[in-house]
Symmetry: C2
Subunit: 372 residues, 2 copies
């Protein structure tokens, strides 16, 4: 049944678990990483390339699609799935993160937020009801409630206001999109690094009966260690029978630690953005294409990787394409980095199911420190 | 045997022919269009995407690879085929065209040409022997002789000098790369729109015994009709038992007319450059993605095309990706435009073999006039 979430395995010594979330476009096997397709496209990837990578779910952005090409246009072109030629599950961010990232361009009020478009300055009023309605019309599998996501560090009063408004907006979102439909709705826990506020936020959201719970407001300026400590405390408090989603995170180390804390879903621009900047993630650490030592390196980026990039291209060739600003550099690096992230998630899931999670966890954290 | 060229069918009423050129990396079935991979990459295409498009041969550029990453680097990375992960035949331009296109950056002398790099101003001396040696080291299947290619219109004296120097350089190229090796060498006929000069150029080159003959110096500023008229006269004079290559041409109309004149090989940036500029070639005429009327067009670019882009994407989606400057727009449009060009060449070849070439020729020329 759509919205059903089943924990298929739990690690004995950590909070890590493997799960299955049923959506209208298929089952999402967790822990899972969602590639970011902000404007309806994972940057550089043809739809069939994304299909071959086979992520469990992809993320798109309501705010960006609202501005361009417009929700009506996506609807007219058959909804977001047909639009971007992706048959699997889609989750959309509500626009809440842009309240944070476009702070200079918006006015925050009780009713909602008014943006000036970063494209042409047009004013756009985003309310909780409007954000949810837009996501329903896009036809996504998982909609996110509209939240208020302060940058860190933030004053306690600002964090309190953000939590309170996120709760009121969360209630309005749930009313606008009641349970039982094809579009699931996740609530977003705020509260910064303040555990009491995080607990309060959670206590206000859970009675609203969301289909899943997200931890928002991380990776917004705080040290990684502070995030790890807070996620370790808060993630296990999220309802165990619902999927848990840590928004906008993160590095391999972030993900491994969060999975250990019981998080099921992730999204992050790191693999795709790093690809565009010529940084490849590999099991032997990062490969920075601009480094001169890679000029004549005939090996693939990661000898342990079986992605099409590693099967066909040397580091020297990728370096050449990157320096020559060839469009294929983005394609090839993105295919590899996403392959790396998706393989990581499959390894984590298999290890949880096989009872080998703590060992893998230790191995991966040691590896990332070395590769650093 | 490498270098062997067999005419498998000839049209009864035109000079069109279907052929097979044997190279070290496979047989090139002609007439054929070579996608342009200037710097060792067809812009936007992963190697496996190019492999799926399956062009008969691809073109790369000696001048660009010489400057970056350098011939030695390509050699160290296993030669151009392994470098760019392309197993099929490769033809390289010699650098002669850059004598024309980078006129402000070079000094032309009897011995060769001195360039200042468009990347960093470094001086590079390109001689006939050096150009051929570079191509041999790249490991390409077909090397082009170094030629002098004047922009049109040009003074008769300049055209005469270009023809004479091209002949002397051609002789030096052939001496530097004698027949019988793995790398074939094509000579380049110059002479602008002057039929007498073209005949003279050809008469000087044929005794040198090239593996194929190219018509250079077209599509360099002259009206299309003037090119068509000259090619129609000159192409049939090229040795019938060797492949004939019209360099840097062209539009569908150019190609159809040149095939009728007996040309076997083509290369042109039109499909790939137009793709990057949001223009799609289709059987119903050009689709310009920036046009507002395509905003909600749910059809694929070309309903008659079975390329992956047309199988998965609407014009509305492609328009969105183009306007949002998404990297996938280049990938998708390039895949389509090259599919269109390669399908055109297959249709022309099949028609020649089946005795239907004049009918197809008339149909295509009418279509391109309508489509504009």
């Amino acid at each position: 049944m759509i919205g059903g979430f089943r924990v298929v395995a739990e690690d004995a010594t950590t909070h890590a678990r493997a799960g299955e979330l049923v959506t209208a476009h298929g089952v999402v096997r967790t822990p899972a990483f969602m590639p970011v397709g902000t404007a309806g496209s994972v940057k550089g990837l043809a739809p069939w390339e994304l299909e071959r990578l086979a992520p469990e779910m992809v993320l798109a952005n309501t705010y960006h699609l609202w501005l361009r090409p417009g929700i009506e246009t996506v609807e007219a072109l058959g909804g977001l799935h047909r639009f971007m030629a992706w048959r699997g599950p889609i989750l959309t961010d509500s626009g809440g993160f842009q309240i944070f990232s476009q702070a200079s361009r918006r006015t925050l009020q009780e009713d909602g937020v008014v943006f000036r478009s970063h494209l042409d300055g047009t004013e756009i009023a985003l309310t909780p009801e409007g954000a949810v309605e837009a996501q329903r019309r896009l036809g996504v599998d998982v909609a996110m409630a509209l939240d208020v996501c302060p940058a860190l560090p933030a004053e306690p009063a600002e964090l309190q206001r953000a939590v309170a408004l996120t709760s009121r907006w969360g209630a309005r979102c749930r009313r606008a999109l009641p349970p039982g439909g094809a579009t699931l709705l996740f609530g977003i826990v705020q509260g910064g690094l303040d555990l009491e506020l995080r607990r309060q936020s959670l206590a206000e959201l859970v009675p609203l009966g969301f289909d899943g719970y997200a931890l928002g407001g991380f990776s917004v300026g705080e040290p990684a260690e502070a995030m790890w400590a807070t996620v370790a405390e808060v993630a296990p408090l999220l309802p165990a029978q619902r999927p848990r989603y840590l928004m906008g995170v993160g590095t391999v180390a972030d993900i491994v630690r969060a999975v250990a804390a019981g998080v099921d879903l992730f999204d992050c621009v790191i693999p795709t953005r790093n690809a565009r900047n010529g940084l490849l993630h590999t099991t032997r650490g990062p490969v920075v294409l601009k480094h001169a030592r890679h000029r004549r390196e005939a090996n693939p980026p990661d000898p342990q990787c079986d992605c099409p990039t590693c099967r066909s291209c040397s580091v020297g060739y990728l370096r050449h394409l990157y320096l020559a600003k060839e469009a294929a550099a983005v394609v090839l690096a993105t295919v590899h980095n996403l392959s790396f992230y998706l393989a990581l998630m499959r390894r984590l899931r298999s290890a949880i199911i096989a009872g080998r999670f703590p060992a893998l966890c230790a191995h991966l954290l040691a590896e990332t420190q070395e590769g650093g």
